[in-house]
């Protein structure tokens, strides 16, 4: 056998390697936590855009008293809603379009038993459940006849799910 003068070097090397590994592990681990702040920024942006679009559609053009969204709900005109909302959220400055899909419902209260009903308004693509959708809504007072009722002033809530695919 040769002498064992190098034993301490080996132990020191081991200790140093361990310290480096632990440091690297701690540092990498500390910086790679996913936060809602990172993942939800695009959601919040989509939410703002959707509610802005609904606000805009619920604004009456100059000189009229009824907004486009109000007449859409009063006439159950889902096709018009799809066209208007689609052009509002998906048009860009350039020729290429965004790929936002959406589903819209109208919620109202049935006066006979005070229950809340939702009727579909428009569906640009069927929901499968794996979309990362955000929810926006817009309040409106409309003059509309609902089933089992006469035509009168009612409050409805237009609710839209929108997601990018």
């Amino acid at each position: 056998m040769v002498n064992s003068d190098g034993q301490l070097y080996t132990i020191e090397g081991f200790a140093a390697a361990l310290i480096m590994l632990i440091s690297a592990y701690l540092v990498v681990n500390a910086t790679s936590i996913y936060t809602p702040g990172d993942t939800h920024i695009s959601d919040m942006q989509l939410e703002v855009m959707g509610s802005d679009a609904l606000h805009m559609m619920n604004t009456a053009p100059n000189g009229t008293t009824e907004s486009p969204l109000q007449s859409i709900v009063e006439n159950d005109d889902g096709i018009e809603f799809g066209a208007l909302f689609n052009s509002t959220v998906n048009n860009r400055t350039g020729p290429d379009k965004d790929h936002i899909q959406f589903m819209a419902n109208v919620s109202y209260v049935r006066l006979t038993d005070q229950s809340v009903n939702s009727s579909p308004l428009y569906l640009s693509r069927p929901l499968h459940g794996d979309e990362h959708a955000v929810h926006v809504s817009e309040w409106m007072i409309v003059n509309k006849k609902y089933p089992d009722d006469i035509k009168r002033n009612r409050t409805v809530l237009v609710e839209v799910f929108l997601w990018r695919d």
């Binding site: 440091s23 701690l26 809602p36 702040g37 939800h40 007072i141 009168r152 809530l157």
Partner: protein, 126 residues
């Protein structure tokens, strides 16, 4: 260090210094991430658009000039709808007592509460 000679002790010292500062930096980064998380949660939890919407529809229900008589209780119906819809579709309780008129101005009290955020306002007509 392995007992050969002690000439380079200061190198070991510097090594210690560097590793300690690395640990401190890691700790600060760790803390800042947690701060970002709570802030982001608070922001995404705050029902900004819900409050805006319910506030404007309550004001509209009073100020639109709809009739509120026995034969046409439009205001009562519309406001009843607002309470039920906001409870069932937005998980929030809204309460608004009848408007009061003092002098030239109309005042509307609006109370909103969804269990996390409470919002109270006395709106005055312009």
């Amino acid at each position: 260090m392995a007992g050969l000679n002690d000439d380079a002790q200061w190198i070991v010292l510097m090594g210690f210094l560097v590793s300690f500062s690395l640990f401190f930096l890691a700790m600060i980064l760790n803390q800042s991430v947690v701060v970002g998380q709570t802030t982001a949660e608070a922001v995404s939890e705050f029902p900004k658009e819900d409050i805006r919407g319910v506030r404007s529809v309550i004001i509209e229900s009073y100020m639109k000039g709809m009739p509120d008589t026995a034969s046409d209780p439009s205001v009562t119906n519309v406001q009843n709808d607002i309470r039920i819809l906001s409870l069932s579709r937005q998980n929030s309780i809204v309460y608004f007592p009848p408007k009061t008129t003092i002098g030239d101005y109309t005042y509307i009290d609006i109370h909103y509460n969804n269990g996390v955020t409470a919002y109270n306002e006395t709106w005055r007509s312009p």
